[in-house]
């Protein structure tokens, strides 16, 4: 007889407050900028003010003599500074410009580093940076992706073109569906054809903690502390591009204050700090200012989407063709063109489209480089398809929920292989939609909308629908290999059973605010049957967790959580044999439940903590036993996970001013099994607002010379709690079938779903005025101009910021004299 183990869910599903929050919220913790080392130098960066220029000379002589300055280094002073790598070339033909951390003779965007000052204090470094005299020969810059396609101005003349790569997925060619051109021809003749161009504006991943790096080169091993999402990948790329032995590089991501993908990068600042530390032989620290973050941290989105949706007259979609133009900025970043290409599997979303084609052209421009930003490729795709489905509903003349139901995969049809060739394991779109509809009060709000419309109210009401899915758990290594990505997508975990009964959990998924310490403790507590409080989580240090692929793409729980389960199961198996020896029973007769091994049919038993202690002492083990229960596991998924959900949004639109106001927002997400509902709620609320911000508020805008106009939070209008309402969030649970826990991932869901929900709602409020699109962000001026012109004027604002601070001028100028400040 073999006893059957079980793992009662005592912790999983509990809304535990986060273990890490006290230290994170009070700031009494190891933020990188808090680290002080003996003899540490402080760095300041000299950055290019020009979007495109040749560096003709850099005169550092005055700066070098400034008080407290130890050295000033140009790109050519820093041999072996390494390279900023692109890990995901879309194909062998991809044009990838060399990206040096500190530029040597050419800058391709404003904000590039041209020299580094090292001084005894941060103030001395900053002062001396102003004394570095750089001569630039300004070159023409190309800022618009569509203009860049003409190659009239080249971002990197040595490449001969601005086109970086072209990537296609065609369902007919892949054998996953029909011919999209045939579907379009038929729809043009006898069905419905929706043709649209949507703009995914450029965004700044405005994480809370500016980036900071400390490098200590004084030991045998070089240690780098840095505010990163990816310490393990950074360690690998430092070794791979500088020639330093990987074993001599230790990267530590201490507590990291947010990232949203913005810290999924190996940065010029990290490599410059490393190079100067090695050059001076002294610990060095660089912490950026918020103004530097805005211009030099990679940006997100920035796509032009040309879309053709073919359908029959009753609203059954017969094909979708997507042409993306993705602006990479000045360089191909670590994921680079891979971000828009992630959309290839998502434009078809939750629908059964018979034919599909996805084309993506990536292009270089003289702007800040672009890479992953919360959702990375999937929000852009979701926006496009969810906007199109609303347009189709309007064309057919039915409710947008009806058109979705007509086209979506029903819950009986899972597992379902999509037209893009992706197999969705599970889902229940009907259930999530029904729940959202109920919480929203859909019919009542529709009735109110009708009343306002009929009454000609100044304030109109619109309802926006977004029934999204996403692919999470990035990513199965074999799929990454097929896509030419430079690494795998597994995750690693270790569990150490300490002599005192405490448990150390090590995970290679490095958090930057997600609450891993709490969630991992809950998972391991249930699996091993030990107390939540007895578990300590160690992470973010390549020396402590030697293997890991870090945190992005909603992967920590789906991949990293499963690695924890596997490591815990190995601990249990090792313990079972030790316990059997101690209990004088056969291992097969032991049942493990809630932390206790018991012998079937007897009252004999022992806790796993006591077994761990016995193993540590090693006094009484079976012959050949290893005196340790510690176990490792590395998990690699076979496929992605597919969270989904239905978001409903009601927006009020003031037709007189163009102002929009959120009235109600309901999100029902199906993210599979929930480990901690409180953490999930936090992710949903934060994610929703971040997506709403793209719809309404945020855009990184450059002027005609390539200067970032929205260079501070004065002009980059980031919302705060005062700008939003309480979202209603709920979950349906359809466990994933692809991992033991049944989890799917939640970090990006809100941000992916909410943008189209908001825009759909605003357009819905104004559709009777002839409006079927307004460009994001939906500024009041854009909305007002759309109303004024019945939709023909997108109403782009001027590319200038209003001055709020007088530059270089005293504001007390008596010579100006007093004049009447009155209007008339």
């Amino acid at each position: 007889m073999t006893a059957v183990d079980d793992h009662p869910a005592l912790e999983i599903g509990k809304a535990r407050r986060r273990k890490e929050d006290q230290r994170l919220l009070t700031g009494r913790t190891r933020w990188t900028d808090n680290i002080q080392l003996p003899g540490m130098l402080h760095l300041a960066m000299v950055r290019s003010p020009f979007a495109h220029a040749r560096i003709t000379s850099v005169d550092t002589s005055v700066a070098t003599q400034a008080p407290g300055v130890i050295g000033v280094f140009t790109g050519s002073d820093l041999d072996g500074q390494g390279l900023i790598a692109n890990a995901w070339p879309l194909n062998e033909e991809q044009k990838t410009p060399d990206h040096l951390p500190v530029a040597v003779d050419h800058v391709a965007c404003a904000g590039e580093i041209v020299a580094v000052v090292a001084a005894r204090s941060a103030a001395a470094a900053r002062d001396a940076a102003e004394l570095v005299d750089v001569d630039y020969e300004e070159l023409p810059a190309v800022l618009d992706a569509r203009e860049a396609l003409t190659d009239a101005v080249l971002v990197h003349p040595e490449l001969g073109t601005n086109r970086s790569a072209f990537w296609q997925l065609d369902s007919a060619e892949a054998g996953t569906g029909g011919d999209v051109e045939a579907a379009i021809t038929t729809a043009r003749a006898e069905g419905i054809l929706i043709e649209r161009e949507y703009r995914q504006q450029r965004l700044v991943p405005a994480f809370m903690e500016p980036r900071s790096t400390v490098v200590d080169p004084t030991g045998e091993q070089i240690v780098m502390w840095t505010a990163t999402q990816i310490p393990h990948i950074l360690r690998f790329l430092i070794a791979a591009t500088t020639g330093i032995s990987e074993a001599k590089v230790r990267v530590i991501a201490p507590d990291v204050g947010g990232g949203f993908g913005g810290k999924l990068q190996t940065t010029p600042e990290e490599f410059a700090t490393l190079a100067v530390a090695r050059r001076t032989g002294r610990p060095c620290k660089y912490t950026e200012t918020r103004s530097e973050t805005m211009v030099s941290c990679h940006h997100g989105r920035d796509q032009w989407q040309t879309l053709t949706l073919a359908a029959t007259k009753d609203g059954t979609v017969t094909g979708l063709k997507v042409d993306l133009l993705a602006d990479l900025g000045a360089y191909v970043a670590i994921l680079g063109g891979g971000v828009p290409v992630l959309g290839a599997w998502m434009f078809n979303a939750i629908y059964k489209f018979p034919a599909y084609q996805f084309n993506c052209q990536t292009v270089l421009t003289n702007k800040t480089w672009v890479d992953a930003y919360r959702g990375a490729g999937r929000p852009e795709a979701t926006y496009a398809i969810e906007r199109l489905m609303d347009e189709l509903a309007a064309e057919v003349g039915v409710d947008p929920l009806v058109i979705r139901e007509k086209n979506w995969i029903t819950h009986e049809e899972f597992p379902f292989t999509s037209v893009a060739g992706m197999t969705y394991d599970s889902g229940n779109y009907e259930a999530a939609t029904a729940r959202a509809r109920e919480l929203f009060g859909y019919d009542e709000l529709r009735a109110e909308q009708r009343r306002r419309r009929e009454g000609g109210d100044t304030v109109q009401l619109g309802i926006g629908v977004s029934t999204f899915t996403e692919m999470c758990g990035l990513a199965p290594s074999r799929i990454l290999g097929a896509l030419n990505y430079g690494a795998g997508g597994w995750e690693h975990a270790s569990i150490r059973m300490l002599a005192t009964g405490k448990v150390e959990v090590l995970s290679g998924a490095t958090p930057h605010g997600q609450g891993h310490e709490t969630a991992w403790s809950q998972i391991v507590a249930d699996r091993l049957g030990v107390a939540f409080e007895d578990i300590e989580v160690l992470q973010g240090d390549t020396q402590i967790v030697s293997r890991g692929l870090d945190t992005y793409g909603s992967r920590s729980l789906v991949i990293g959580g499963e690695a924890l389960v596997k490591a815990a199961d190995r601990v249990i198996e090792k313990a079972r044999h030790v316990a059997a020896h101690l209990l004088e029973a056969s291992a097969d007769d032991l049942r493990f439940s809630a932390g206790q091994f018991t012998v079937a049919g007897t009252d004999k038993g022992i806790s796993i903590g006591d077994v761990a202690n016995a193993a540590w002492r090693g006094h009484n083990l079976f012959d050949g036993a290893e005196p340790s229960l510690d176990s490792d596991a590395t998990f690699d998924a076979d496929t992605f996970s597919f969270p989904h959900g239905t978001h409903l949004c009601a927006m009020e639109v003031d037709t007189e001013t163009g102002a929009t106001r959120m009235r109600k927002y309901v999100a029902v997400d199906d993210i599979g099994t929930i480990i901690n509902p409180l953490i999930v709620e936090g992710q949903e609320h934060g994610g929703i607002l971040q997506g709403v911000a793209q719809a309404l508020w945020e855009e990184a805008e450059f002027d005609d010379s390539g200067t970032l106009v929205t260079g501070s939070f004065v002009d980059y209008t980031l919302p705060t709690a005062a700008d939003t309402i309480n979202f209603v969030t709920d979950n349906t649970v359809t466990p994933a079938t692809t991992n033991t826990l049944g989890t799917k991932g939640v970090g990006e869901a809100g941000c992916i779903a909410s943008t189209p929900a908001v825009v759909n709602a605003v357009v819905d409020a104004l559709r009777h005025l002839g409006i079927n699109d307004i460009q994001m962000p939906l500024t009041p001026q854009r909305v007002w101009k759309a109303v004024q012109s019945a939709g023909t004027d997108p109403g782009g604002p001027s590319q200038e910021a209003q001055p709020h601070f007088a530059e270089g001028a005293l504001n007390q100028d008596p010579s100006a004299g007093a004049t009447d400040g009155a209007a008339q």
Binding site: P797, S798, Q802, Q812, A822, A823
Partner: protein, 282 residues
């Protein structure tokens, strides 16, 4: 965000402060609540040699009644104005406007005097100070003089406060019993006004006996919308007609990321109507 080095002085009296300004010459900046000057210094848009901090000067702080006037010290913080019962009673418009400034942190630091002398036309104190026909008390080496609000704002970031002088107080005639409203239009709450309108009305026996309208961010300084005032005066409170349509007359609003000049003119008209309507309690 480290400013260039400067000498820092924190005098404890106005006399000392004036002496520090005189000695420092033109490369001296006055620090009030720091909500504009500190960003300027930290972003290195300006690098004065000397900063004179007024925070230790008690005589510049506080709100008091002087007969028909309220006197608000230049270093009085926004948050003190918002919570002041006498301001609510006699100059409600100012409290309503100040309550809309940025966010709580800034309102706990920023001062009315600092904002007035900084003279950002998008700031929220200029328009109510104009509409309430306040007087600005300025002290310099030659003594004290008072400038009426309509002569105070000179141009973008320029006021009647000369070099070596300090704004010490704002004297506001009591508007007890007036109705008022500050209508502010922004995209996000903590932003500078895209346009805002300050309205104070004296209603007697159902008729608008007096009307004062100030405009925020409709030109290089805060403005008085006198055409609207004239049109409102004498009209029944129950029917202000199209008086507010004249709100943008004579203005020269900026065009920027938040909106172009035409849009701002349109907003001025709509917001003025809404401010008047709200003030009248409709």
């Amino acid at each position: 965000m480290i400013p260039a080095a400067f000498d820092y002085l924190a005098p404890t009296s106005v006399e000392e402060a004036l002496a520090a300004l005189a000695e420092g010459g033109e490369d001296t900046k006055v620090l009030g609540g720091g909500q504009s000057l500190l960003p300027i210094l930290r972003m290195r848009l300006n690098a004065p040699e000397r900063v004179v901090d007024l925070r230790r000067i008690d005589e510049l702080r506080g709100i008091r009644e002087e007969g028909d006037h309220l006197v608000i010290g230049a270093m009085t913080r926004y948050s003190d104005i918002v919570t002041s019962p006498v301001v609510r009673l006699h100059a409600a418009l100012l409290a309503q406007a100040v309550e809309e400034v940025a966010d709580p942190q800034i309102r706990h630091r920023g001062t009315i005097g600092g904002a007035l002398v900084h003279a950002d036309p998008a700031g929220d104190v200029g328009a109510p100070v104009l509409a309430l026909e306040a007087d600005l008390v300025i002290r310099g080496p030659g003594g004290e003089h008072t400038v009426p609000s309509n002569e105070f704002f000179v141009d973008l970031f320029e006021t009647a406060v000369g070099e070596g002088e300090l704004l010490t107080a704002v004297r506001i005639p009591k508007h007890t019993g007036w109705v008022s409203h500050y209508e502010k239009f922004v995209r996000v709450k903590h932003q500078w006004s895209i346009v805002a309108v300050a309205v104070a009305l004296q209603v007697e026996a159902g008729t608008i006996a007096a009307a004062r309208v100030g405009l925020t961010n409709m030109g290089s300084t805060p403005l008085r919308a006198r055409a609207v005032e004239t049109a409102l005066q004498g009209r029944p409170a129950s029917d202000v007609g199209d008086a507010c349509e004249r709100a943008a007359e004579g203005t020269n609003p900026p065009s920027d990321l938040n909106g172009d000049a035409d849009y701002r003119r349109h907003l001025a008209r709509v917001l003025t109507r809404r401010a008047v309507t709200t003030a009248l309690g409709d």
